[in-house]
């Protein structure tokens, strides 16, 4: 069964401006797939809804989340101290499709394949666990990550990636521009692309992959209520093959996603 559990905060440290890395220990967390997220429950009960945050890395009995202070809730989260307890759900969502089959093809054998994990801003964190899992599956992993001005998690990515390419919007370091422009201009080629970041970036990468006729998987974001599929608050439009042909269906980002194949997503809304 899925659960909401108490975890111990092992650390909660700033790693860039307004970006924090928190490690939470819990023996009840269970297995974690790259691209899954957890609901974090705040102590201030005037903020009723849980905060869904992507999992950056995971060990047997702990998870690491990396979040940006974006509002009152994440600001409160940043004040939590190591050794304090925190209420957190076990992993939610489906994560990236790197096991079993999807889109009719066998996808769990990555040996001999080159893949790119492309993250944008606060979409970079899930790329760490994803890169690790893909490397474990035999893939040659390249990272293409973009930031506004201050990169983070670069050393973590280097543990699993042969190359880590960095872009900054303001040209403070690395490639001057965004991650997708960098992929195109530096010709960072791969057999498959995986991404998480702003919608405009995901669409640009999806268009690029569609043109090259290769798969890309994108992790979508939408304002969530429950995070587990009960409220149907977070929906997106997905193209689905049916017996009658192709039709557009509404899918729950939290329940059916957050990861979808780029070619399935209806982007122009």
């Amino acid at each position: 069964m899925k659960k909401v559990v108490w975890g111990n905060i092992l650390c909660n440290d700033p790693i860039a401006k307004d970006v924090y890395k928190m490690q939470i220990q819990s023996s009840e967390m269970g297995p974690v797939k790259a691209g899954q997220f957890v609901n974090i429950y705040l102590e201030d009960k005037s903020m009723l809804l849980p905060r869904p945050l992507s999992i950056c890395d995971a060990e047997e009995d702990s998870i690491t989340i990396v979040y940006r202070i974006a509002g009152k809730g994440t600001r409160e989260l940043s004040a939590y101290q190591a050794m304090n307890q925190i209420r957190v759900s076990t992993p939610l969502g489906n994560g990236y499709f790197i096991e079993g089959t999807a889109l009719g093809g066998q996808i769990d054998d990555y040996s001999g394949k080159t893949v790119v994990v492309a993250g944008g801003g606060i979409g970079v964190p899930p790329m760490v666990l994803l890169a690790r899992r893909l490397k474990e599956k035999g893939a040659e992993v390249l990272a293409a990550v973009g930031f506004q001005e201050e990169p983070f998690l670069i050393e973590e990515l280097k543990q699993y990636c042969r190359e880590v390419h960095v872009a900054t919007d303001r040209g403070t370091c690395g490639f001057h521009g965004n991650a997708v422009q960098m992929i195109k201009e530096k010709r960072i080629d791969a057999d498959e692309y995986f991404s998480c970041g702003p919608k405009v970036m995901l669409k640009a990468l999806s268009d690029f992959c569609t043109e090259k006729r290769i798969h890309c998987q994108v992790s979508l974001e939408e304002r969530m209520g429950c995070g587990y599929g009960a409220c149907v608050g977070c929906t997106c439009k997905i193209k689905v093959k049916t017996n009658q042909g192709m039709e557009i269906q509404q899918k729950g980002v939290c329940k059916h996603g957050p990861v979808f194949f780029g070619e399935e997503v209806v982007w122009d809304e």
Partner: protein, 310 residues
């Protein structure tokens, strides 16, 4: 420990609701429960009944996103009753719910009287225990709340649905009215077997940084602990206006909140927003209600009703 087990045995939380026996008064609130997803967190057979999401005659796609906004003491939603339609509900959701053994109360959505009737008629052929007719959703343009704010319209829907339904019919009322008791009396007069209240209050949130409404639909339904006093007051008023059983809901977060609704006059309660905040809230609230009853020396739900001093 033995003493606790002894006390547990003595508790009787069962409720006869319009002829349907519920083993306890805790139900889920429509729109906040999804059979398989909620069932991944707790054993839903522990509940008195489950109330499903709104089911329409055909699939509805709902409103554009963002559909959810957090507000102080609650939340806004503008989902707009997205649902796969009655046939998909019967084929995909009902068999799963049926095997849990929990009575199923199907929430029925419609844009016209005919739509409500066609769904009610179709569901009468199935094993749902009761139907909850949603004449109170603030997030659909036609039907929904339009029926719930006018006593004549509310009565007309009730009369028409009662004519085609072979299951008990519960009418779910909106709080967005001047006189809730008048609407309750109108639906009881046309044969409603029960009443549930309250649906969400119409609310709005503006992002003052972006200078735009937070919800794509601009307005949405306000729910959560902040609405509880309004809901308790309305249950109290309706209890004094009608004889039929009442499901009370609106901001129930704890077992004591459930007891408060029962004292106000509810026969059963629905847990809604709390289940989005904490997936196991319905069973947690059941456990807390039992604890409250033990502490207060209550053995039955009826004793909670009777203990209330007006």
């Amino acid at each position: 420990m033995n003493n606790l087990k002894e006390m547990e045995r003595e508790l009787d939380l069962s409720v006869d609701f319009a002829g349907v026996l519920l083993k306890n008064p805790i139900t889920t609130a429509s729109g906040t429960f999804s059979a398989r997803e909620s069932g991944e967190f707790y054993d839903i057979s522990e509940l008195g009944a489950v109330i499903t999401k709104g089911v329409a005659s055909e699939p509805w796609s709902g409103n554009p996103t963002p559909r959810i906004a957090e507000v102080y003491g609650g939340m806004l939603n503008a989902v707009g009753l997205q649902n796969p339609g009655v046939e998909a509900f019967i084929k995909e959701e009902l068999p799963y719910l049926k095997q849990t053994g929990t009575p199923v109360i199907a929430n029925v959505a419609g844009r016209t009287v005919e739509e409500y009737c066609s769904v009610a008629e179709r569901l009468s052929e199935t094993e749902v225990a009761m139907m909850e007719i949603n004449i109170s959703c603030p997030n659909v343009k036609e039907g929904g709340i339009g029926f719930g704010t006018d006593p004549k319209m509310a009565a007309a829907v009730t009369k028409a649905v009662k004519k085609v339904s072979r299951k008990p019919v519960i009418i779910k009322l909106t709080p967005n009215v001047t006189d809730i008791a008048e609407i309750a009396r109108a639906v009881e007069a046309e044969g409603a077997d029960g009443i549930s209240l309250i649906n969400t209050l119409l609310g709005m949130k503006i992002d003052v940084q972006r200078k735009k409404p937070v919800l794509a639909n601009i307005m949405g339904g306000f729910s959560g602990p902040a609405v509880k006093p309004v809901a308790v007051r309305m249950v109290y008023q309706v209890r004094r206006a009608v004889q039929v059983p009442i499901i009370g809901l609106g901001g129930i977060m704890t077992g004591e909140d459930a007891a408060e609704f029962i004292m106000a006059g509810a026969d059963a309660v629905s847990v809604g927003t709390a289940a989005l905040v904490n997936p196991t809230a319905p069973v947690d609230i059941l456990r807390e209600l039992k604890q409250y009853m033990r502490e207060q020396g209550f053995k039955t739900i009826g004793e909670i009703h009777e203990a209330f001093m007006k």
